[in-house]
């Protein structure tokens, strides 16, 4: 401080300020400096829009005229809308068909894959690859598979076996399970890897003890492996359920001419939300639908927390 600085006053004040700050106070400042941009981001891009979604759901906004508060009208309209109930039933069909089918298949594969040493990595890669694909791209491949003869390979196969051709995506009855095929296919790789990690985490001493006690493989599976796998199972059930409740990409792209068709037979909630908001511009009504989706997902997440807390 012997050389005269340009602005001695400020320099001395700044020096004194930083002297007065204790080490821990400085670290608090750093912490908030690090968090400044993220806090603004989460506030503006997550919390504010959430509040806005709730607010819009109580208005009749359609982007053309100013929004007007209409109370619970949108929710009343939803309960009286036959399309909503149709969509609600479809969404739960995706959930109750997709979740068990994909988890049982994934577990069976992971359980056997875990015991295989020969070319283990190669087999695992075969099962994992679909997880890395783009839904929009693979939806087109699967659409091709399910085409009627003479195009579709699956119908060609049925024909060569002397079986009747199936309408698949063109049937109101078959279209929904048909869409589930690629959706399940694409999600299994992830589930198998998580199951493998869960199986790996079970100490081998448990198995050894059980074998010494003379338990059969089947008994070991039901009494040791599955109970010890509970955290993994709960995680995957919730993860898969949320995925099927939010299904969109495959439904939209398996039938781009009429997403959710034929005759709304495959339409899940998220397609209805998309169409209500961005095709009909009925933003208030669409927001009420998103709130319903939010409440369903919230209920499932809370259920997960309860299941996780229960002792095994």
């Amino acid at each position: 401080m012997h050389e005269a600085p340009a602005t001695p006053g400020t320099e001395r004040r700044a020096g004194r300020l930083s002297d007065r700050l204790t080490l821990s106070a400085k670290r608090v400042l750093w912490a908030w400096l690090f968090l400044a941009v993220p806090v603004v981001f989460y506030g503006a891009i997550r919390f504010w829009p959430t509040a806005e979604a709730f607010w819009i759901s109580f208005t009749d906004w359609n982007l053309l005229r100013p929004a007007q508060f209409v109370g619970l009208d949108n929710y009343r309209r939803l309960l009286a809308d036959p399309l909503f109930w149709k969509v609600f039933a479809n969404t739960f069909l995706y959930l109750i068909l997709g979740t068990p089918v994909s988890l049982v298949l994934s577990f069976a594969i992971a359980y056997h894959l875990d015991r295989v040493r020969f070319l283990h990595g190669f087999l695992r890669a075969l099962y994992f690859l679909p997880f890395l694909t783009t839904a929009v791209a693979m939806a087109w491949v699967w659409r091709y598979f399910f085409q009627p003869v003479p195009i579709g390979p699956i119908n060609n196969l049925l024909a060569s076996l002397g079986l009747p051709a199936q309408p698949f995506l063109r049937s109101t009855l078959q279209a929904l399970p048909t869409i589930l095929v690629p959706a399940v296919w694409a999600g299994m790789g992830f589930q198998i890897i998580i199951f493998l990690a869960g199986l790996r985490a079970i100490p081998t001493s448990y198995y050894e003890a059980a074998r010494i006690d003379g338990l059969s493989e089947r008994a070991i599976l039901w009494r040791i492996t599955l109970p010890l796998l509970k955290p993994t199972l709960v995680f995957l059930v919730v993860f898969a359920s949320i995925g099927f409740l939010r299904i969109f990409d495959y439904v939209y792209n398996m039938n781009t001419n009429d997403p959710g068709g034929p005759l709304d037979s495959t339409k899940p909630l998220v397609i209805m939300i998309y169409q209500t908001a961005f095709k009909s511009y009925d933003v208030g009504y669409a927001s009420a639908q998103t709130v319903v989706l939010f409440l369903i997902l919230l209920a499932i997440s809370l259920l997960q927390l309860r299941l996780m807390r229960q002792p095994t």
Binding site: S24, R27, V28, W30, F34, P38, V39, Y42, I45, R46, F47, P49, T50, E52, A53, I109, H112, R115, V116, L123, R124, A125, Y127, F128, P130, L132, T133, T134, V136, A137, M138, W140, V141, Y144, F145, I151, P153, N156, P182, M188, F190, I193, I194, A197, G198, A201, F235, F248, D249, Y252, N253, T256, I273, A277, F278, V283, L293, F294, L297, S301
Partner: protein, 275 residues
């Protein structure tokens, strides 16, 4: 010994079944690449290995400038989101794990609670925000909702908690400032988690569909999935072209996987168990 040799035939059967199942799993992908190498006259010939493989479809599709543009749009957005997530999720995860300050628990719970909010609930307000600020049909408009994620933040926080404080204290004694300590000392210690986060973010943004579909209306601003979704409607008869487009959309992630296989599988395991 007898038990082992008895189990052998069962194991061979199990291995064979697993192998056949694995082939079934990759068949759609193989079929896609195979069809992309056929010309229109061979499309309905269902052989997996094309009789006369040709790259003509790829040439045609890349000469049609739109497709290349969508590819580059997707690449740019996925890279931008990945860089942003690695930086910010890393920074926030580190701060929440390694700093003690008033409001820490509140910030933690606030970010945690955003995991409960489904994207579908936010797309309408995001769209209104984007149209109000003129972000429709722009890179910023596509990328802004995903610049940080709660998932990534918690993944990083879990890993930073395992970093010993001694390392950071040593750096402090050396006179490094807190930002440098994070970037130069702490971040390199969690490289496995960072690469898992980077892979997930890239993959998630590369395949993202619903938000890019909503926010981009002009064909030049489509991402590859949105473009592919529209592109195919126009050419709904030309299956070989659709398959070529699909193959190009799938190729980057498959290549990344083939190079980093062990890394990616471990990353999924890490994220699944910790996240």
């Amino acid at each position: 010994m007898t038990a082992l040799s008895k189990a052998r035939p069962g194991r061979v059967v199990a291995w064979t079944l697993l192998f056949l199942g694995g082939i079934v799993m990759v068949t759609p992908i193989l079929f896609m690449f195979s069809t992309s190498l056929k010309d229109s006259s061979q499309v309905f010939d269902l052989r997996l290995v094309p009789a006369e493989p040709t790259l003509d479809n790829y040439r045609t599709i890349l000469e049609d400038g739109r497709f290349l543009r969508w590819f580059l749009n997707s690449l740019f957005i996925a890279v931008l989101a990945t860089v942003s997530n690695v930086f910010f999720d890393g920074l926030v995860g580190y701060t929440l794990a390694k700093f003690r300050f008033p409001g820490r628990r509140l910030v933690f719970l606030a970010i945690l609670s955003t995991l409960m909010i489904p994207t579908e609930m936010l797309v309408i307000p995001w769209y209104l925000m984007a149209s109000r600020f003129g972000w429709l049909d722009s890179y910023w408009g596509i990328v802004f909702p995903g610049l940080m994620t709660a998932f990534g933040t918690f993944l990083m926080r879990q890993f930073f908690e395992t970093v010993p404080d001694d390392f950071l204290e040593a750096a402090r004694i050396d006179g490094l400032n807190e930002f440098t300590i994070w970037w130069k000392v702490a971040m390199p210690l969690v490289t496995p988690a960072l690469s898992a986060l980077a892979i997930f973010t890239f993959l998630g943004n590369w395949t993202a569909f619903i938000w890019p579909l909503i926010v981009s209306t002009r064909a030049e601003m489509f991402t590859l999935p949105v473009g592919l979704s529209s592109f195919s409607v126009e050419q709904s008869v030309a299956w070989e072209m659709i398959m070529t487009g699909a193959a190009i959309a799938t190729l980057p992630t498959l290549l990344v996987f083939l190079v980093l296989q062990r890394f990616i599988v471990r990353g999924v395991m890490l994220a699944g168990l910790k996240g």
